[in-house]
Amino acid sequence: MNIINFDHLSANPILPEVQEAMIDVIRNNYGNPSSQHSLGDAAATALEAARDSVSALINCPVSKEIVFTSGGTESVNHAIKGVAFAKADKGKHIITSNIEHNAVIRSLKRLKLFDYNVTSVSVDKYGMVDPAEIEAAIKDDTILISIMHSNNEIGTIQPIKEIGEIAKARKVLFHSDAVDSVGVVPVDVQELGVDLLSFASNPFYGPAGVGGLYIKRGTAIWPMFDGGVQENNKRAGTENMIGIVGMGKAAEFAKRDMEKRIAHSKMLKEKFLRELPDYLDEYIINGHPEKSLPNHISISLKYIEGESVVLMLDEEGIAVSTRSACAAGALRASHVLLSIGHEFADAQGTMVITFGMENTEEDVERFLAVLKETVVSLREISPLYKK
């Protein structure tokens, strides 16, 4: 079936040029970058070229500061647990927000078993963290602040630079989970003042299951995997060269085409939001009206439940997400939506739309029409909906 994909957050096609680069590795370059012979040399060269491209994307001063990982989750776990264990003698207090991704939340929960304590700051109705609240939460034994760059469920972009300044002034390490931002909007690690930044390749049309962690030179951190001396001794294990080369290539294009991509997404997003009232009533648009990902819309559709919306749209050949794909299969109301003040029922009926380069204005029109039908028929079934 020909599917119109409005779920680029979780299922991004790989750019054709990136595909070709990956296929070349599959077919011709099976070398191991650690080997001392020429097969290895070629791989080592490709590995460092990919590192340079990814570095350039986030304006990393030295490319060695990038560690390749198996995705956003590994990066986040590595950053948080790695710093926590390395700095344990300095303190065991960590600051985060109420709307982080489960990779952050559950890593911190894990650390509680090792007697770490966590302060989680609240957000306003747009899902925005207040830097002053973070500053107020800093204690003598605070070793790490972890605040996401943009939220995967509601798209809100946080004041990372302001928090970075506070972290620097108060000499606390600062990690940002930028999985949904890197390659999508400009992210500059130097400007933001982060010590650690997690990201993944699929949000910018690279392969899934590949990511990176920026670790500022000099940051005390333990590796996640112990073993060989790969990745400058920061991540043991034979490299996923196919994925890494793909990520490097995707990073080049993301840097080159970012403005164009943002303009295209914005145009579709604005069209959708402008025309939506003609099709639907009783919905809430989530997230900050301006400080938000340009390719991202989150809508809570009152009286109906999200998974059933996704399934019904899918029957019509349209792919959207309930919230984050990573949480599908977990049956709770979203902690993010509850944090911005939603009722339990509204938090269940949320749909996340993420636009991509191949989406057209016609796609959006078809989507609006189908969405209307879907919502009407599901509301008909719903005991909560009173006409």
Binding site: E307, S308, L331, R332, A333, A345, E380, I381, P383
Partner: protein
């Protein structure tokens, strides 16, 4: 993810709606758990002559409701009482493990409706319809068994479904 039968009942749910002047009503769940269901019965001569439902929930919950109403329709009260969650899940050709609780919802609503009918017959006061209110469990963290994906309570040492030992976070 879902069987063909589940998708069929989800896409074309049978017996959707309400019954005016229903002889019995059963409502279970609440939106806090992610699902809520109401069953309306028309009963003649101890036999379910009409049945309708309304459901707020996932695809599985809607399919379960639809299948359940099909199964109950035309049955006597005594027969209907014997419909179990397992029967519904089986009729749907299985549900994913993490959706099994949705089938509980279905049979439960039917039993609540039947109880409503019997209470009325016995002249007992009708139970108030359950209100959608905050309830403890949904706010606390729910754990999932790492072996079988069933939900498990915060402090449990073993998973009730698969009997594996659990390590809680």
């Amino acid at each position: 993810m879902y069987s063909k039968t589940v998708m069929d009942h989800f896409k074309k749910p049978r017996n959707v709606g309400t019954i005016e002047n229903a002889d019995a009503i059963g409502e279970v769940g609440n939106p806090l758990c992610g699902d809520m269901m109401t069953i309306y019965l028309k009963i003649e001569d101890e036999r379910i002559t009409d049945i309708k439902f309304q459901t707020f929930g996932c695809g599985a919950a809607i399919a379960v409701s639809s299948m359940l109403t099909e199964m109950a329709k035309g049955k006597t009260i005594e027969e209907a009482k014997k419909i179990t969650n397992k029967d519904v899940a089986e009729a749907l050709e299985g549900l994913p493990k993490n959706k099994l609780h949705c089938s509980n919802l279905g049979a439960d609503a039917l039993q609540v409706a039947i109880k409503d009918y019997e209470d009325q017959k016995a002249g007992k006061p009708r139970q108030e319809r359950q209100q959608a209110e905050k309830h403890e469990h949904a706010e606390k963290d729910v754990c999932y068994c790492p072996y079988c994906d069933s939900e498990v309570g915060e402090g449990e040492a073993f998973c009730k479904s698969c009997k594996n030992a659990l390590v809680h976070l």
